[in-house]
Amino acid sequence: MTMSPAEIERDKASTRNAWALSTPALILLTFAACGPLFIMLVYSFLTKGQYGNVIGTFSLDGWRSILTSEDIFDPGVTVWADAHLSIFWRSVKLSVLTTILTLAIGFPTAWFIATRPPKSRPLWLFLITIPFWTNLLIRTVAIFEVIRNEGVINTLLIWASVISAPLQITYTDTAVFIGMVYVYLPLMVLPLFASIDRFDMRLIEAAHDLYASRMAVLRRVILPIVRPGVIAGSILVFVPSLGAVVTPRILGGGKNMMIGNFIELQFGQGRNWPLGAALSMTLLVIVTVALLFYVRVSSRENAHG
């Protein structure tokens, strides 16, 4: 397509206009969101200060101490930092489990909403949206109320004489897992619903007419079409799970830390800002890889569909 000089000029002016109108947002975001990330990258290569903060000399200690530490009894000898590794393992394990369980119970829920009559569908969707927008702290406190030693579950179980002493659920990995599933479930249901909603239910009838079993329909007809929703939901749950701070802090207590709490610790009692900065950059890279994977898969799906 060729454009006349006047058209090219108009196009340029409109591009300038787009940038000009976006400028206030971009300035604010650079100042209070993206820009500081670069400063943090620099900090990860500096030496830690004795009382927090950093000293302006170059050092790789921040990055090195992600995985290794100095032997307590034998200074100068580098060993694997087992405590750090167990925190990473817990974070990945709990995030993967959370993604799997939210998918397993979120899919039927999204399906249920999408198959409601058009009149009641917005209401069911609204019921998922309320928890989605409700304060994460409040929802974490709510689940804490249910599983704590004097909470509903334990009170009911003791009352029914199933157990004699309360089950210790809070301050365990299980508690963090339950909490994350509860808190992030709407993030799975909403994108799943969006993809199922576009699905033409007549395809299922067609498959049935062609003697496909229910399982075959689910595997061969439904899943390929709703796959973008499954991927979007999984990423939307996995990413915040991996960076979770509030939920593991309240439900896991001090012992059952995840990466987010570990980063937080470096800027508090840990007083190791370079390590905290290096950990943050690592988390950022993992999240970016996950998102890029999502963009690639979803654009490929779109090209095929």
Binding site: N17, A18, L29, F31, L284
Partner: protein, 267 residues
Amino acid sequence: MAERSFSASHLPGFTVVALAVFTMLYVPIFILVANSFAVTYSASLWDGLTLDWYAKAWENEAVQSATLRSLVIALSASIIATFCATMAALGTTRRRAFKGQTLIYVMINQPLMVPEIVTAVALLIFFASIKVATGYQGLGYLIAAHSAFCIPFAYLPIRARLEGMDLSLETAAADLYASPWMTFRRVTLPILAPGIIAGAMLAFVISLDDVVITEFVKSGGQDTLPTYMMGQLRRAMTPEVNAISSVLLVLTVLLLTAFFFLTRKND
């Protein structure tokens, strides 16, 4: 639709799971609210009902100042974020692709992608040096940080509204010799208004909810309601936290219901 005996879209067990999920989502919230009326924390509802915890929270000066601070920050942040988001949406929608479009989208949506703790830490590092350099310790840092992460939430509904807009109305206004500014004020803005209000409300709710970034950015004595609650949780739990939570919960539900009707009526 003659035969409804066989419903293809019905999968066995799905309804049961879905209803269980809805129950599971709401029961803890109801328990949280119910416990705010409990006399003592440990025994929950068995000992009787009281409104004492609401009165206690209401009279607590720390709660009062935290509430006020939360409202000031959420109000300022939602106004600033909505203003920036409206401008950006006007600039980036309803036009052919342009150079740098992807960069602008990535920048605007960046707060949705970067884990909160990462932004929080980066802001701590950056603002700590500004605080030392300038000596300014005020609410400005919190308002700037909140405004920034609220921008994508304000941007999305405004953009959606703009994309659904009928271009011919503006063309008609221009044909009737309305100046561009006149067209914007009298045609574009009124049609866009529900999107802008929806965006502002989402930004308000998001700002009011924030814990992690606020904890890292705030100076001493700048507790917001969520960070105050977080502090209380670290000590001993009392139904006072439940009372504050219940009030916040009601506020969120009211705003969301308004949002629900605002975006639905104009579909």
